[in-house]
Symmetry: C2
């Protein structure tokens, strides 16, 4: 049974009623972020119950010493951890000397949280009866500003309902925080200065080892029945704490309100400068604007985001809420301003997976950002890998490769590998393919070729070199084989000739050679620079070609399917739906060896290849492979349902496509995997977007042209989305009968609908009847 306490609303995530055992899940679900920082929905006031504290700063990490059972040569020395940053949201509330703590209150009623996705704020309200019987009405609103992305703002209001009472607000900063996830209980932060000046306070601290300098700051002010109180706060400073105090005797029904502006200035972007001075400038700006004006700005900024990225669904409230939640979280996590940043699997909502970059970015996230943002955002994601090319070459060197071969890490913060399972770190090498594919996909979608001569070709050369060296010539097969890999299906380790890996390796080499020719012809200066820099020779290219040409692919003639890997057919091929319920999910119920020798597939593997390279295969081949592999797929990765949803839609299996869609779009809201308290599955949310746009909408780029094959689940009346295709904004609305297009701008463009060419006139609506 999945969770169901989140109320279905078009634009909001709403929880009503206070339940202690939901606190950690809600802390994840109601998380807020602005691309530069993020914050779990921890309470501002003290809470002594079970909670998972998390404030995160983009790009600030700690290289935690690796923990392994048995060391293997080649293991990286550290596993990067996203770290819990100093707390800027805290506000202790003391009523007649007694602290407000929902865990110890006599009663809590009217508890309500709302995450307003349309406007980008989070609110909470409740009536609490403290142990001293004072009944307090509390309401808080907070948001992380998109316009001023170093800052968050909180309005915290209390009103004694049943009696007069002394109420003290103690807003504070706290750098004495810890990580839930720490291998050796190391201290991650070192605090150097705690200071306060008037309404402002600052904690300067730096991370151990990485030495990220961070100034955490706040400015606080209180209002009594709406009037700003001019008295300055009392301040208390200790080693890692800066507290302000405002105390007031309230009459029954009085409103006492605290506005708190807080956040971080960070050394990574403010080199050599006094971070406290920068913080003061920031605070001056936002405090001058005030909470309400800032909030107005926030609403406008989110309106701009939604104007381009919203997807509407009529007739299915849960589906509507699901897709908006996914789009909202993606925009909270990454906005593409800084090519040093990337998209962690949990975004700013938890510590799991170390907040590092995985192949999720290239395989799942880039399409979303390409279609809903300016192409520079996706370009920044590509540039991130270009900037890490040196490290990828070093990484390959550590594993014994040479001559500029590049192996991008499975998990990284700064380009270095920081995962510590040999079967993943050393063997899940298909990630290199996804990085090359993203370069291809970026050009295919945006039409911006410039990235390739400027940067991409060097990345491609490193990757092609790797594949050529990693392949082995099997005299026995008279073919090149790729031994000892882990495919996207991580329920197989150290297999030979994973079809997906072999296929993408071959593709990478061929694509690289094509780009070499294209750059040579079109960008001779870049070409010569790159050849000089990489010392690439014709002989080497010949060796690559040979590997690509003579690559081996496991195939079964009788079934007519490519095999996930050598020997796949030796398994006991019992479909997953026949497994007893008590055995699911197998990754929690089965021993690892049992999983490994089973046929069960964690996420699309062979089918991932059919997704990336759909146009290399016939519809019949897709159908055959889908029918062969999907029944063994247990979808125990959040990245699994979206690809299958797209393929089911392509095959016209709309019920199945819809069921996969629900699973991906409400994965966290309904907590399918019973782990939402650890954080949200951010990267798979981009897969949800793909399920609609590529799955139901059938968007493809075919022969350099935009193309759609729209379908609609029977549960929906209509749905609509916009895409930015090469700086043209096209809006689609799909109903059961027709699809209507609206092209913004002043120039016409042509596209294909179900294979037929249509022309969209500028700023006009065009309707096409769907023939089903």
């Amino acid at each position: 049974m999945n969770q169901d306490y989140i109320q279905p609303k078009e634009w909001s995530i709403v929880e009503e009623g206070f339940e202690k055992d939901r606190v950690k899940s809600s802390e994840s679900l109601f998380s807020i972020g602005n691309g530069a920082m993020g914050q779990r929905a921890n309470f501002e006031e003290d809470y002594s119950g079970d909670s998972f504290q998390g404030s995160y700063i983009a790009g600030v990490y700690y290289p935690d010493k690796t923990k392994v059972g048995w060391w293997k040569n080649g293991y990286p020395e550290y596993f990067a951890k996203v770290i819990n940053a100093p707390n800027w949201i805290g506000i202790k509330v003391v009523v007649n000397g007694e602290p407000l703590d929902l865990n110890t209150c006599l009663a809590v009623s009217d508890f309500r949280r709302e995450l307003n996705m349309k406007e980008g704020w989070y609110s909470r309200s409740f009536i609490a009866t403290l142990p001293n019987k004072v009944q307090l009405h509390v309401k808080s609103v907070r948001f992380l500003s998109l316009e001023h992305d170093q800052v968050g703002a909180i309005k915290y209001e209390v009103c004694p309902k049943n009696t007069a009472a002394w109420v003290e607000f103690i807003p504070y900063l706290d750098s004495g925080i810890t990580n839930e996830d720490s291998n050796w209980d190391d201290k991650f932060w070192n605090t150097t200065q705690v200071s306060s000046q008037g309404r402002q306070a600052f904690i300067e601290a730096h991370t151990m080892k990485t030495n990220f300098k961070v100034c955490t700051f706040m400015e606080t002010m209180v209002f009594y029945n709406g009037t700003l109180q001019t008295t300055l706060p009392k301040e208390t400073l200790s080693e890692t704490l800066a507290l302000h105090s405002y105390k007031k005797e309230l009459k029954k029904g009085d409103l006492f309100s605290l506005h708190k502006f807080g956040g971080y200035t960070v050394g990574v972007s403010q080199k050599q400068t006094d971070l406290r001075e920068v913080a003061k400038t920031v605070l001056q700006k936002v405090a001058h604007l005030g909470f309400d004006t800032l909030l107005e700005g926030q609403k406008k900024a989110w309106a701009n985001i939604w104007a381009m990225s919203d997807i509407t669904i009529q007739g299915d409230l849960k589906a509507q809420q699901g897709i908006r939640f996914n789009i909202f979280q993606l925009n909270q996590t990454y906005l593409g301003k800084d090519s040093r940043l990337n998209i962690g699997p949990k975004g700013f909502t938890g510590e799991k997976y170390g907040g590092s970059t995985y192949w999720d970015t290239e395989a799942y996230c880039i399409p979303f950002y390409m279609a809903t943002k300016d192409h520079k955002v996706a370009r920044n994601l590509l540039k991130y890998r270009y900037n890490h090319l040196e490290k990828a070459i070093e990484n390959a060197g550590k594993l014994g490769f040479s001559n500029g071969a590049a192996l991008y890490p499975m998990v990284t913060m700064n380009g270095e590998e920081c995962h510590n399972e040999w079967e993943i770190t050393f063997e899940e090498i298909h990630r290199n393919g996804a990085i090359a594919f993203a370069i291809f996909n970026y050009y295919r979608y945006t039409g911006d070729y410039s990235y390739i001569p400027e940067m991409g070709l060097e990345v491609l050369i490193g990757i092609a070199r790797f594949w050529q060296q990693r392949a082995t010539f099997s005299a026995h097969k008279n073919k090149y084989v790729i031994l000892g890999v882990t495919g996207p299906n991580e329920y197989e380790n150290n297999v030979n000739n994973n079809w997906y890996t072999n296929y993408i390796a071959q593709w990478c080499i061929r694509y690289t050679i094509k780009q070499l020719h294209k750059v040579k012809d079109g960008y001779p200066e870049d070409y010569h620079r790159i050849i000089g820099k990489t010392s690439l020779t014709d002989r080497e290219i010949t060796a690559w070609s040979k590997v690509a040409k003579e690559m081996y692919f496991p195939y079964d003639e009788a079934l007519g399917v490519y095999l996930q890997q050598d020997g796949f057919l030796d398994k006991e091929l019992i479909p997953a739906h026949k497994l007893p319920k008590k055995d699911r999910p197998i990754n929690q119920k089965w021993s690892w060896d049992r999983i490994l020798r089973s046929p069960y597939i964690k996420q699309a593997d062979t089918l991932q290849g059919f997704y990336f390279f759909e146009d290399h295969f016939s519809r019949e081949a897709l159908e055959k492979h889908f029918d062969f592999y999907e029944p063994f797929t247990v979808h125990e990765s959040s990245l699994s349902p979206c690809v299958h949803s797209i393929q089911a839609a392509k095959l016209g299996r709309m019920e199945q496509a819809y069921s996969f869609y629900l699973r991906t779009s409400r994965l966290d809201l309904d907590d399918y995997n019973k782990e939402v308290k650890e954080g949200l599955h951010i990267t798979s949310m981009a897969g949800t977007w793909m399920s609609i746009v590529e799955g139901f909408g059938g968007m493809r780029i075919l022969d350099d042209k935009l193309s759609f094959s729209p379908k609609i689940p029977s549960q929906w009346q209509s749905y609509s989305f916009k895409v930015n295709f090469r700086d043209r904004i096209i809006e689609l609305m799909v109903t059961k009968e027709k699809v209507s297009f609206y092209l913004k701008g002043s120039e016409e463009m042509s596209l294909r609908v179900n294979g037929k060419r249509i022309v969209l006139l500028a700023s006009q609506k065009v309707e096409v009847l769907l023939d089903f």
Copy 2:
């Protein structure tokens, strides 16, 4: 370059000259043990230089919480650790107020260590110039008594050479010791009482978690120029220390001598009793005998061991020293008195591999103990596994097997698995086969069938059940396959159809079915008891038979060899001798993935099958497989050279056999693997013995008869050994021309030499000419 500081001597291991960087290696090489306890050759006096302290008590371990990178379902919670026990050997020596410490002395000359293997003692002598210029002649002798196996004795003598001096002996006990190997820096020991009474002192302590109770004790006395001093020592007690002090003003040339008796009484064998009282009784006995008498007893006890187990080699001093060192260490480690004990890979010489039991015992050690001891010793080793059958069934249950299937652990102390790499723990399942093979081998050699109806058959049933459940029917191959295993060659992980594993699985099932019939016919009561206990049905046996009958074996027709596993021929088959020297050993120089996809073999894998089941295959088949696999074998396991030596000898390749022999017999003395400081390779020492007896001597049991095919390396003039075959002692002497046999006792027996039957008359020498 291997180390070469150990002087070649027939009966001794001798080191001359003091070199600080050899201290840890020598601490391993000069280790002493008596089956019940063991002691690295740590100095008695203080030493501030680099040292690895180790005192070990058989069977006393600590379940250290497992350390893993990523937890996998099925991992055991702890990794058993052999633990450094309280120090009983320590003697501080203070000269004119200054402690003797070889690390800080102005000069050390005439330093000499000797491990006298013939008589079972270890001595050390040197002349040290202390910082205060006093020149001290020191001599110590120590041994662990075979007769009184809770006790060791030390005679420690000093003589000031250049001046009169005050000398203080401070013999002590110390339970404030630590482990080098500890995952979480846990405290392993808890000391409950420290006491002293006259010349005796005691520390009572117990291990954390496992609660082994240990009383460490000592009795001390001093002699001045040979005269026992009657003054009692001054005593000082602290939380984990008990010190005695004897101080004396010595004239130049005086001899001051300390006798110390010490050791442990252990709760595991003295349940419910007062361990201090037991210690007092023990001390009373040995102190009454005195050091010299005890030492005489030690010499006699070792003479008895050697009388049966010695191997002589004429014409090759290093080979002679090597084999005696191996036999000596095996006897120091395990004497077969207690079926709760087993043979750790490092014996009592270090902490590595946790001191736990591996398949080494069954595959390598049992033949040595069968041939050089009463058959009860090997029977105790078999009984050890019978006692762990319940745990093996539990262990299989944790991995998803049922109905009494047993998977013996890869590493264990008490029958529970305690290893933590999935590729070993869950997949190196061939160990189950070695345990069944040892049962077969025990009966084949000793002729004692009684073990099988009494205990062995139940073990076999559990193992057969496991194999039947672990095999998978491949519809594709129309055969049973065994997927996802690690063979003896641990440089391959998660492979399919490891030939050795499939072969031994098939053999186990067939052997079990044969024993079921045999026990049914010959031991009907046992049979009914066992069938009742195991609920074994005919239907189940039919299922076993089917798996055995239809087992798949990877085979290459063109080469005419069984393949180590599916896909082996896809590798780049470059012989190991072509690898650049800088790449060796590959387990130190290569990343793990590179090792995995290479063809290189850590230790005999397919050839291990040809070793166990030699008579299932023709000589030609052996030759073909040896010629195919040995060139890829890097012998980076200590267990590798012996099997290859035996097979090379069988194939008449005496130079190769000899070279493997030297490598196995002097592995530690010459430190081939650059790790002797971590401890000795005890279990592979049994392999050394096999290299001579089965390799050069060609000993086999064929059709229930003892058989030999003696050969001799060209470097040797002759060699001799004895074997106990079914309580008959046969001595062989092999020269270049002939082999002579001598049969002890009063009855004749027949055996085969090079296939021809000969009859040995009782107590008579029989000579057979060798025709090469």
